[in-house]
């Protein structure tokens, strides 16, 4: 049903139905009213996969019949299977047991230490390295999904010259002749040579580039990174007068104010900061709650961090600077005047400033990398003024040698090319052909009269034959980071030597190997180059022991001892604030802001199907990138949205399109009404609309780079938005897998929780404040529902007494930040396929764990809640009762086993599942054909075929392995020895899994907490997965005395 926003808004205050809504369309509907059209599966099972015509079907059916006569009848085991042993077995390998190697994944120019699981030489899974300061054991979606990139069949496999297959020998001779000519220019070597690089994260590569520059002194090195940290650097320069690196330690921070920084999910230090921030919060709750930290977030688009904020202020990006200036002034420090007046927020600024002064020395003020340099300067100065330096905020000297100048101005490179002053250009690991700003026509510069320029020899090195490769003469395949040696540094300077897990699958080379050749016309394995660099470092640091010992230890542990930077003391320069921009921005039109896509970044991960299908946090959109705008703007424009309401169509959202006109360019994009988005502004995600990403990434979404300009890369005013008469189908999972649960989330404010029971009021189920769990209720949950579940039952009780185990899980909703690392980890661990956009629309996505997002309170400033939902492993499981073939049965340790080889696909179990956690293979989603994909599968988990039901098993393969290892070793299982994939990946440690028979375990402690509750308790299915209620710490001065956790 198509509902105008206004009527939704009207429904809000009086709604007696869902107090927690998943989409605006959901508001005010009572739970029961949706039942009639809430069937789980689409009624027309005849809906075919895209592209299968009737004719094709008959062909396939015919071929199937013929083949079944030939081979299908034999029940005999395949006779041809072979066992191929090693010729000489490596000493450390035990066949059948995985090995773990430390290395690092680099994203946004910073290293995340990881451990990679390898089965007989095949890397299959990535985990966090607990000894690495950036990981602390947690991972993010990008590190988890990197394994899929390695086995991507669309990766570039050979050297190409003008589209024809060529060899590295030919590349080398072409490079040699071009560079030899450069060298012969006396005193001007490199005059015609240009290098264009992407992220430089490797100290070795940096040193190599310096050496190359010495050889070709006139060479120019340009850098093109979309998500760069230019503003962060410039901000530090404005405040301190010099280049600095800064990091924050949230362990002791009791107050965090974030100006547009999604530090929990998007920043390069997300794993560390989210873990330390949430661990401190949990500790505070465990004590008495009085020391729980508070989080203020000021941002435009609702992010994960904004969703977790105790107070969130939605402001267009152009006004955040002014608000920061207001807060600074309220702090009593010298600060420039706000350029935009925000009278409505003056009281808020006062309150935040007061809170900051209260937490002097224990607070952190943050700014996002897409905020202006002025905001960064302000936050640096505020931190210094609040005496946070060397307590929660630490400064270090720059990581990179300033002698190597990397020019990030792509425009001047294009001018050079146009002038003809570039004869040889080498592009390494960056894709300006796709991601250059609209005002810099990189593509046109490389072409003359529609074809490649003949006066420019252009080499492109990359993992894919992408948009830029198409423009170049040569394309050189680049090795994946799991295929080559390199090194990388983390936020605090800690270096990791990244080791390969596998020989290059294709004829690729690493960037080190290319630069080595450019410097000396000699080939050298990257291991030697990296070793050489670290030998020099080792010699200069006069460490004890031999170099080999140092090397082995560094490679093995994943960190290089002694590389962590020491912090430096710096002073804010006098009158720093006078240099800040004081120009008043024009107030015409709407604010346009760009953001990296939350799952596919700047487009580099566009061909990663796991990340494409991962619902974006908060919006829950997959495979697409509509423009996000606020409900109020949508109301003014008359936009509507229609969500498929028939069974199985809940993934379909038909949205209106808008035309965005900005500085002479126009684009028609679908519009997504995003509750909580700042009014009068539009956010566009970069990274979509690619044309040469590969089979997965091509054609998803819209290319927002076509509107982006180099002078205002992140935000600008002056956008004109107009509704057009066109509609677009967006695949969003926000309305899928709905449970008939009126209170999925229990939430409370810390200052009303349990501490003073006199404050608590008993609330009836239907009252307005039903969303809020009152302390008495919280406490009563415990007495109502002991671990065992004591309500009478007609079913025979299971016996789980020791030595048997009784597995259980508890998920802390206070800690969950909605990052979905668990979803990708589960997908990698359990060989879960992707289904594509059209199947997501039909409600057939396969994720075994989903992170539901609920909104509550107002449409424009909602409170946001995340809830990871895996299989609940019910004690009285409704699925088990209805299976006609016993394909889902109770195990002796309390799991609901799913037996794929028994399943005949009736889907009764899924119909009967109240939590909607079962997934059905409507088609053969698992890719059995692509050779490279098969290498990456987890050999401990069955690959499911068409017609089979599947679901979360608590990673039963890990449980069985852990139990067997303990039994073989004649010992008991320690708590924390068996980790589920979701638990291990979770950066905030929000998921705890363990044996409920072990009363010392963390999961038992959590389940005994007064915050513990289970979903759909009234059904008495006794879920083994329970939740800890979400607590927040709102400032009473801003809630106006309402201590209910709502603003």
């Amino acid at each position: 049903m198509r509902s105008p926003i206004r009527s939704l808004r009207e429904r809000l205050p009086s709604s007696a139905g869902n107090m927690f809504w998943r989409a605006p369309e959901d508001i005010g509907k009572s739970i029961n009213s949706t039942q009639g059209n809430d069937a789980e599966f689409t009624s027309g099972i005849e809906t075919w996969e895209e592209g299968i015509s009737r004719r094709r079907f008959l062909e396939l059916a015919g071929a199937g019949l013929a083949l079944s006569g030939a081979s299908g009848c034999s029940p005999r085991p395949a006779p041809s299977e072979e066992i191929i042993p090693y010729v000489k077995m490596p000493e450390e390998i035990i066949p059948g047991r995985p090995q773990f190697y430390a290395t690092a994944h680099v994203h946004q120019e910073m290293a995340l230490g990881i451990l990679v699981e390898s089965h007989e030489g095949r890397p299959t899974k990535i985990e966090g390295n607990p000894d690495h300061p950036a990981s602390l054991g947690g991972t993010d979606i990008f590190a988890q999904a990197a394994i899929l990139d390695l086995y991507d069949p669309d990766r570039s496999k050979t050297v190409l010259h003008h589209g024809q297959i060529s060899t590295w020998g030919a590349v080398h001779s072409s490079l040699r002749s071009a560079l030899q000519a450069e060298l012969e220019l006396e005193g001007a070597a490199g005059k015609g040579l240009c290098l264009l690089v992407g992220e430089i994260r490797s100290p070795t590569l940096h040193a190599q580039l310096r050496k190359l520059k010495q050889r070709f002194p006139m060479m120019r090195i340009y850098q093109h990174v979309v998500g760069n940290r230019e503003n962060v650097k410039r901000g530090a320069e404005l405040a301190f007068g010099k280049m600095l690196e800064t990091y924050h330690d949230l362990t002791e921070a009791t107050l965090v104010v974030s100006f547009g920084d999604d530090f929990l999910c998007e920043s390069p230090t997300r794993c560390r900061e989210s873990q330390t921030f949430m661990a401190a919060r949990r500790d505070a709750i465990d004590q008495d709650g009085s020391s729980m930290s508070r989080l203020y977030v000021i941002e435009q688009m609702l992010s994960c961090t904004g969703a977790k904020a105790d107070h969130r202020i939605a402001l267009p990006n152009t006004q955040i600077d002014s608000f920061a200036r207001m807060v600074a002034k309220e702090l009593g420090m010298p600060a420039p005047d706000a350029t935009v007046s925000l009278p409505a927020l003056s009281r808020t600024a006062k309150v935040i400033a007061k809170d900051l002064l209260r937490c002097r020395g224990r607070s952190v003020v943050k700014a996002g990398p897409d905020q202006s340099a002025s905001v960064h300067a302000l936050t640096q100065a505020m931190n210094a003024y609040l005496e946070n330096t060397n307590r929660t905020v630490f400064h270090m000297s720059p990581f990179w040698d300033g002698r190597l100048k990397l020019d990030s101005n792509l425009g001047s490179l294009v001018n050079e090319i146009r002038n003809g002053s570039v004869e040889t250009m080498i592009i390494i690991g960056t894709n300006p052909g796709y991601s250059a700003p609209a005002d810099i026509d990189f593509i046109a510069a490389l072409k003359s009269q529609g074809t490649r320029r003949s006066d420019l020899l252009c080499f492109h090195m990359g993992a894919y034959f992408d948009e830029t490769a198409e423009l170049c003469d040569w394309h050189l395949p680049q090795s994946h980071f799991l295929e080559s040696w390199s090194d990388a540094i983390a936020f605090d300077g800690t270096a990791t030597i990244t080791q390969p897990l596998i020989e290059p699958l294709y004829d690729s080379r690493s960037d080190h190997e290319l630069i080595t050749f450019l410097t000396g016309f000699q080939e050298e394995m990257s291991r030697e180059t990296v070793r050489h660099h670290w030998r020099e470092w080792w010699e200069s640091h006069e460490l004890s022991g031999t170099f080999d010992e140092f090397w082995d230890r560094s490679v093995q542990t994943g960190t290089v001892d002694g590389t962590r930077r020491t912090t430096v003391n710096v002073e804010v320069i006098a009158d720093w604030w006078r240099s800040l921009d004081g120009a008043r921005p024009s107030e015409e039109g709407v604010v346009i802001s760009f953001a990296l896509d939350p799952t596919i970044g700047d487009g580099a991960f566009a061909n990663n199907a796991w990340l494409q299908e991962l619902p974006k946090p908060v919006t829950r959109i997959t495979w697409d990138a509509p423009a996000l705008l606020s409900p109020r703007l949508a109301e003014r424009l008359g936009l509507t949205v229609e969500v498929g309401s028939k069974g199985g169509d809940h993934g379909e959202a038909v949205v209106d399109c808008v035309e965005l006109s900005y500085r002479g360019r126009a684009m028609v994009v679908p519009a997504w009404i995003a509750p909580g988005h700042a009014d009068n502004s539009v956010t566009l995600w970069l990274g979509h609309g690619r044309t040469s990403a590969g089979r997965v990434g091509n054609g998803s979404g819209f290319n927002a780079y076509q509107l982006r300009r180099s002078e205002a890369p992140w935000t600008d005013q002056g956008l004109i938005v107009r509704k057009v008469d066109r509609q677009h189908i967006v695949a969003s999972v926000q309305m899928q897998n709905r449970m008939n649960e009126s209170r999925p989330i229990r939430t409370a404010a810390i200052n009303s929780f349990g501490l003073d029971s006199g404050v608590a009021k008993t609330q009836s189920q239907n009252s307005e404040l039903l969303t809020v769990l009152q302390p008495e209720e919280l406490l009563s949950l415990k007495s109502d529902r002991p671990l065992e579940g004591s309500s009478p039952t007609l079913y025979p009780e299971y016996d789980y007494g020791p030595p048997n185990h009784r597995w259980g899980m508890a998920i802390d909703l206070t800690s969950c930040i909605g990052c979905q690392a668990c979803v990708i980890a589960c997908q990698a661990e359990n060989n879960i396929p992707v289904v594509g956009k059209s199947e997501v629309i039909r409600g057939r996505e396969m994720h075994w764990i989903r992170v539901d997002r609920y909104f509550s309170s107002s449409l424009d400033d909602p409170q946001t809640h995340f809830q990871p939902v895996p299989c609940m492993q019910c004690e009285n499981a409704p699925c088990e009762l209805v299976c006609p073939v016993h394909a889902t049965v109770h195990s002796s340790d309390g799991l609901n086993d799913m037996v794929y080889n028994r399943c005949v696909g009736t889907r009764y179990c899924s119909n009967n599942c109240p939590f909607k956690v079962r997934r059905f293979n409507f088609f053969e989603y698992s890719d059995y054909k692509t050779e490279s994909r098969r290498l990456g599968r987890n050999p401990d988990v069955t690959v499911r075929t068409r017609g089979v039901m599947e679901k979360c098993t608590y990673c039963v393969q890990r449980i069985r392995e852990g139990v067997i290892n303990a039994k073989v070793g004649h010992r008991d299982i320690k708590d924390g020895e068996i980790l589920t994939a979701c638990q291990q990946a979770c950066p905030t440690r929000a998921i705890q899994f363990g044996d409920l028979n072990n009363h010392e375990s963390v999961v038992v402690r959590w389940k005994n907490s007064s915050r513990n509750y289970s979903l759909l308790e009234e059904l008495d299915v006794r879920p083994r997965t329970t939740y800890l209620a979400e607590l927040r710490n709102p400032n009473p001065e801003l809630t106006g005395g309402r201590d209910d956790g709502h603003r």
Binding site: P77, Y86, K88, R97, S892, V968
Partner: protein, 229 residues
Amino acid sequence: MPQIFHRSLNSVFRACFVGSALMVVGLFWCLWVFYFSPYVTRQHQARIQPVPFSHAHHVGQLGIDCRYCHTSVEESSFAGIPPSETCMNCHQQVWFGSEMLEPVRASFERGDVIAWKRIHNLPDFVYFNHSIHVAKGIGCVSCHGRVDKMPLMEQAHSLSMEWCLDCHRSPGRHLRPESEVVSMIWTPSESTNPENGDPYDGKSLGERLFQEYEISSSNSLTSCSTCHR
């Protein structure tokens, strides 16, 4: 209208009814027998291997311990097939020039792999783990049969799920002392009961070891996810 069938055919019809019912049952019985026949399960069928390795010689005559070659049997799900290097430990001196061993020497020298035919092949949805069976006192011979009498390796049992469950339901009678796991010829009567000094019979030893090894209940051993994941 005259009757088509004479009254005397009644008994023929009755016989046909009963007969067809029997035929249906018989057909299913035949299929059942066929399905579990050695023809289908490939039981007792020796296969040609790249090198005609004889367990009868190496185990039966020379008495080499199983674990000399199958090194990971105690610590991994996979017992391990020896690398060519292991063969050469002896064969660089014994039978050095033998033509039969040419593929082994070639493999060792040139690094070519030897592709052995898999004999014990479980379906891909079955996850068998050697280490736990060995640790809990299941002898090699219980599943693999008298390999010391097999010139070429063959499958001694059907490896059907029924056969696995037979033991998982009551493992007692297959248990043996840890020291005898690899023995091909051990019988329970070789062990003596410390309580009365008498030799054990299979049942009483099984009961004792079942307690001693703390073997899980049959309920646990027959849970689906014990073997299927």
